[in-house]
Symmetry: D2
Subunit: 352 residues, 4 copies
Amino acid sequence: MIVVMNLDAGEENVEAVKERLHQMGYKTHPIYGTARIVIGAIGLEKSATPPTGLETMPGVEKVMRIMAPYKMVSREVKNEDSVIEVGGVRIGGNQLTVMAGPCAVESYDQIYKIAKGVSQSGAQVLRGGAFKPRSSPYSFQGLEEEGLKFMAEVRDELGMITVTETITPADVELVASYADIIQVGARNMQNYALLKEVGKCGKPVLLKRGFASTIEEWLMAAEYIVNEGNLQVILCERGIRTFETYTRNTLDISAIPLVKILSHLPVIVDPSHSAGDWRLVSPLANASVAAGADGALVEVHHTPNEALCDGAQSLTLENFDNMMQELNQIAKAVNRSMATSDNKCVEGKEKV
Amino acid sequence: MIVVMNLDAGEENVEAVKERLHQMGYKTHPIYGTARIVIGAIGLEKSATPPTGLETMPGVEKVMRIMAPYKMVSREVKNEDSVIEVGGVRIGGNQLTVMAGPCAVESYDQIYKIAKGVSQSGAQVLRGGAFKPRSSPYSFQGLEEEGLKFMAEVRDELGMITVTETITPADVELVASYADIIQVGARNMQNYALLKEVGKCGKPVLLKRGFASTIEEWLMAAEYIVNEGNLQVILCERGIRTFETYTRNTLDISAIPLVKILSHLPVIVDPSHSAGDWRLVSPLANASVAAGADGALVEVHHTPNEALCDGAQSLTLENFDNMMQELNQIAKAVNRSMATSDNKCVEGKEKV
Amino acid sequence: MIVVMNLDAGEENVEAVKERLHQMGYKTHPIYGTARIVIGAIGLEKSATPPTGLETMPGVEKVMRIMAPYKMVSREVKNEDSVIEVGGVRIGGNQLTVMAGPCAVESYDQIYKIAKGVSQSGAQVLRGGAFKPRSSPYSFQGLEEEGLKFMAEVRDELGMITVTETITPADVELVASYADIIQVGARNMQNYALLKEVGKCGKPVLLKRGFASTIEEWLMAAEYIVNEGNLQVILCERGIRTFETYTRNTLDISAIPLVKILSHLPVIVDPSHSAGDWRLVSPLANASVAAGADGALVEVHHTPNEALCDGAQSLTLENFDNMMQELNQIAKAVNRSMATSDNKCVEGKEKV
Amino acid sequence: MIVVMNLDAGEENVEAVKERLHQMGYKTHPIYGTARIVIGAIGLEKSATPPTGLETMPGVEKVMRIMAPYKMVSREVKNEDSVIEVGGVRIGGNQLTVMAGPCAVESYDQIYKIAKGVSQSGAQVLRGGAFKPRSSPYSFQGLEEEGLKFMAEVRDELGMITVTETITPADVELVASYADIIQVGARNMQNYALLKEVGKCGKPVLLKRGFASTIEEWLMAAEYIVNEGNLQVILCERGIRTFETYTRNTLDISAIPLVKILSHLPVIVDPSHSAGDWRLVSPLANASVAAGADGALVEVHHTPNEALCDGAQSLTLENFDNMMQELNQIAKAVNRSMATSDNKCVEGKEKV
C-alpha cells in the first residue's frame, strides 16, 4: 500500500500516518520526492483491501493499493490451469466445452427436443433455466422443481450433463440434487450469501460475470466460493453494460485473455446474453474461442419465436449446428479440439 | 408494441407476424409507410415486456415497446405522492428525512456515540450495517444479530427509528424483528427472491438503486415489492457505475426529478456511497435536496480513520452537523423543512 | 511514479528497470515488501505522463502514477479562485452567471426575442449557435457568419455579452471577432488543434467537458488552453455518457465540488444538454448551484416545438423565468447572489 | 416516426400534434390502443433525425424513430460489400489486410527498421503517427511533416502503402500528399469540419470509432465523409470506454458482425489501443478476424520500452511475427486468406 501525502502535508501529518499504519501492523517506508512525500506500507495485506479511512487523515491525498485482492484464484497461488471434471466432461483442458439449451425449461417435450438436437451437434452440457430471475414480476418465472426434474430425466436419457441456475441460498441444495453444475447468474454475482452457499454444495459452479462488475470483482466473487472449499469454479463472461444500445450488452472479449493471465480458472463465454441477437451468436462464439475461451454457453430453441423467454437471442437447432461446424474450424486454428459426439450421447441418439 | 418490418419484407412476412400477434391476443394495425411497413399491436400488455422472439421471424427488423413495464409504482396508477409513516417519522412529505450512522455497527459504544451525535444534529433515522455485503471474503462481514440488537437498544434509548440492510431472504424475518426500515442494498436490487421476501415482511423497505441498473429496472424492482402487497417502498439513488475514476460512482442527480415524474414513491439519496469521498458528501446532499429529493442517507463515524469499513466516505460528527445546517438552508429555498430536533430524541439527549 | 514488480521478478529485472529509470533522469528508491518489490521513481515528472513502455520490461507488473498530470489549472499552482471578467460580467466570483439562449440562431427576430426575454429574467450572457456540430450531415448546420452577426447586433442593443461555439481552428478568429466568450463543445474537447487556437485568441473560453471524458482529461484540455497563455477558461459540465437511456446524458454533479477542490477555474453547468428533457432543466440547475457551480448555461426558445434543433430540451421564456426565481432562492441558501437585472440590460429593456 | 401520447392526452392534444406533423410534411396515422393513442407519422424522413420539439407539446409522452439515420453507408442502399483498392492492396475483400507500425514516427531509422520487419511478416500497410493527438500538452506531439516524409520514403523503398492520422482540416491536403490512407482518430470522429475535409481529399479514409460513440454515430460519421463524395471509407473499431479499468478500453467485438449486417463498408480492428496491453493484442486480433473483421491495425516497435508513446501496447517485431502466424490459421478457419508476402515488399527485402 502506498499513501500519497499532499503538497503541503507537514512532518506531523507524516508521523501521524506512520503511527496509524504501525498500529495496523504495517512497517512504513517513506520516500521524500521532489514535490511530495509518499509512504510505502509493508505488511502481509491479509485483508484483501487496505484499511480505509486513512484518506480522512490530515495531509493525506490518496491511498494506492499495490497487490490484487484475490489470492486463491490467482496464478500467483497456482500456476497451472485448473481443469474441472464432471460426469466425464473436462472443462478447462485442451478440449472445448459447449453448453447449450433453452433459456427456460418449458416442458418435458421442449427440453427433450432441444437437448437431443444440441447433443447431436456436439454439445456435451445441457443448459436450461428452472428458476428464472426476471426483471418483471409479471414475466414467466420458471417451472422450478418440475423444470429441474425434466432436465435430469433428459440428461439421463441422452447421456449429457446439466447446468442450471440457482437464485437464492435456500434452493442450492435442491438444485444441486438435480443438476451437475450450479450456475450463479450475472445479477447474483455479488449475492454473497449465495456465493457462500454454492461454495459448500460440492458441485462445480459456473459463475457469470455481473453485467456491471469489474474483472477484479468477478475474481473476488470466485474467491468467495473457493474460500468455502469449493475449487471447481468455471468463470463465464456474458457481456457488460455500456452506453451502446444496438446490442443488449457489450461482450468484453478482452476479459478472456486477461483472466487467463490473472487466474488459473477455466473461462467460457455466453454469446447469447451478451448480444441479445441471434445473428451475432456464432461470430461471437468464434471470437471467444479465438481469444482463448474454454467453451461457450449458448441459447438454443427449436422454435425461438414461441419461446417463453429470450427468443430473440436463441439459435434454432439448425443454426446451432452451423455454429458448431464453424467453431470446430476455429478450435483447430488455435490447436484445440471440440468434443467428438462419439464419446457422449450415443445412447441418446439410439433411443430416439 | 410496434413491430418494424425490414425494407424487403414481403406481404407473407407481414401476414405471418400478424398471425403470431393474433395468437398472442393482440389486435394488429399495420401502417404502410413510404419505405417500410410497421405493425401496431394493440392489447392489454398485461405482461410487462412484449413477448420476445418476434425478432427472429423473417422480415422483422425490430420490436419497439410503447408502454412502461412498471404499473403499480407509476404515477399513472396513483398520482399523489406516497408518504410512508414509521414510528412517527414521515418519509416523502414536505419534511425532509435524514438517515445517518456508521457503515457498520462495530460495538454498542460506537453506535451509541454516533447515534446520539447525529440525533442531536437532526437525524431522525439511525442507519448502520449488521450484515455487510463485502466484495472480499476476507473483509469484516458485520456483527450480524448482535449488531441488530445494539441498534435496537440505541434506538429505544434515543427515540430514533432504524434502517439496516438484509442481504438474504432467510434473514428478512430476523432483521424485521429488530429494525424499523429494511434496506435492500445496491448489489441486491435484482435479487428477486429477496425482493419478494421483503415484500411480505410488513415493514417499509428502502430500495437502493443498483449501481448499474437503469431507472426502469429500479422501478421494476420496486414493482416486485409492491406486487407482494407492500406499498411502503422508499427509493434511494446511490450513484451509478461510469468510466469516471476520480469518484467511486457517479451520483445520477437527474434520476431524482425524473423518478418524481414517473413514480409516486419517495426518493432519497445516498451521497456517501456515490462519491466515496467525505469531502463531496455535503455538496451532494445539498444538490439532491435542491433537485427534489425527500431526504438523504449519510455515513457518519466519530473516528473515520478507525472505521472498520468505508471510513474514507464518512463524515465526522462535526462535519455532519455542518452539513445539516447547510441542508436546512437548501430545504427552505425549495419550500421544504427539516425535522426539528424537538419532536424526536428528547429523552436521548437528557439521558447522556 | 511507482513501478510494481511481479512476484517472480529477479534482481536482474529490478536492476534493468532501475537503469532504465536512471536513463530517463529519475532517482530510484526500491522498497522490498514481504511479497514483492516496488520501485519508487523520484524526479521532476515534467512530462505530464510517465514514460510508457516500462510495462513491457521483464518482471514489471504495473506502473502507477503519483502526481496529477495537470499543473497550471491546479490548486497546487494557484490556490485562490480564478474570476474571469468580460464586458462587466464576472464569472467565478460570488455572483452566479446565467447564460441563456437558443440552441441555434435561426433569424434575427428569433434571437432578439429570446435574448430580450432571458435578459429580463436576469441572464447576463446570451448563448446561441452559429456553427452547429450535428451528428447528421442532413441536419441544419447553422447560419454561420450571419448567425454571429445577429448575435452581435442583439448583444449591442440589449447590453448583454455573448457566448458561441467554434468547431474548427480556421474559424476561431472569425468567431472571436463577433463573440465575447468562445465555446469549445463537448465533441471537440480533445480537438487539440482547436484548443491551441482558442488558447491564442485572447478571449475567454468556455470549455465543455467531453461526454466521455474523465475529469482528468477535462482539466488536461484546459491545460492545453492555459499553456498557450490564455488563463481565462470557464469549465462547463454537461453530462456524461452512461448506460442510462431515460436521460440523454447523466449530469455528473459530483464533478462540480471535485473540480472546485482540484482546480481554481470557474465551473458552470449545462442542464439542458445533459438531460435532453426540458422538465429536468430547472431541478438540475438548482442542484448544480447547491453543489457549488458558478452558474448555468441554459437553452431557451420562445416556441420550442418549432425550434430547428434541440427543442425537446428548451425552456420557454416563461419556464426560464420560473427557473431563475427558484435559482435565486438556492443562490441565497448557499450565500451567493444572482446578478441583479439592474446593472445589465437596462438600455435593452428601454429600447423595446 | 411514432409519437406516443400520454395517458391523459385529450383529443385536442392529438389534433395539435397531427397539425404540427402535417406542417412538417408528414402524413399521420393514429392508432387508438386500449390505454393510449400513438400517432404514426409517415413521410420521407429526408432529415436523418426526426424534428425535435414535439416532445414539448401538451399530451406528448415520447417520440420514437423508426428508420436508421444513415443512408449511403447502409446495406439498404448498397447490398454488396465495398472493397477499397489502394496501391495494389484491396481492403474489404476476401483477403485480410494488416496495417502495422509504431505509434509515432520517431526517426527515419526507427520507421525503416519497423517497416521492414512488419513487411517481412506480411503487413501490407505501414502505420505511423506524424501528428499525434496527445492528452497532455507536455507530451511528444509528433514529427509533423518530417514524419510524413520519412514514412513516404520508407514506403517507396519497401513497396508498402501507408496510413497516417490527420488531426485538423488545415493539414488534410498536406497529409494526403504524402500518405495513401488518411486516418481520422477516435477523438476526432465527431470533428465534422475534419470529416468534410477528408471527404473531399480523394484518398481512402480510415475512420476510427470514437471511444464513446455508438455504432449509429460511427456510421453517421462515415455518412458525413461519403456525403462529400468519398466512398472509400474503412471503419476501424478500437475499443470503447467502459467502467472496466484493467484494460484501457473495451474492444467492442460485437460491433464487427453487427456493422457487417448494417453497412457495406469494410471493418478492421485496432487491438493495440483497445487493450493498452501488448499481451492482449494477438488474442484480440484473432478474435476480431474470427468475428468477421477485414483486418487489423497493430502497433509494433522494435524496442517498446524506449518508444516515445504507447510502448506498453506495442508488440516487438518478434511478437508481431508470431501474431501473424496465428492470424493466418484463424483466417483459414473462416475461409479467408492473408496477403502473401510475395506480392508485396520483395524489393524492400532485397534492398536490406
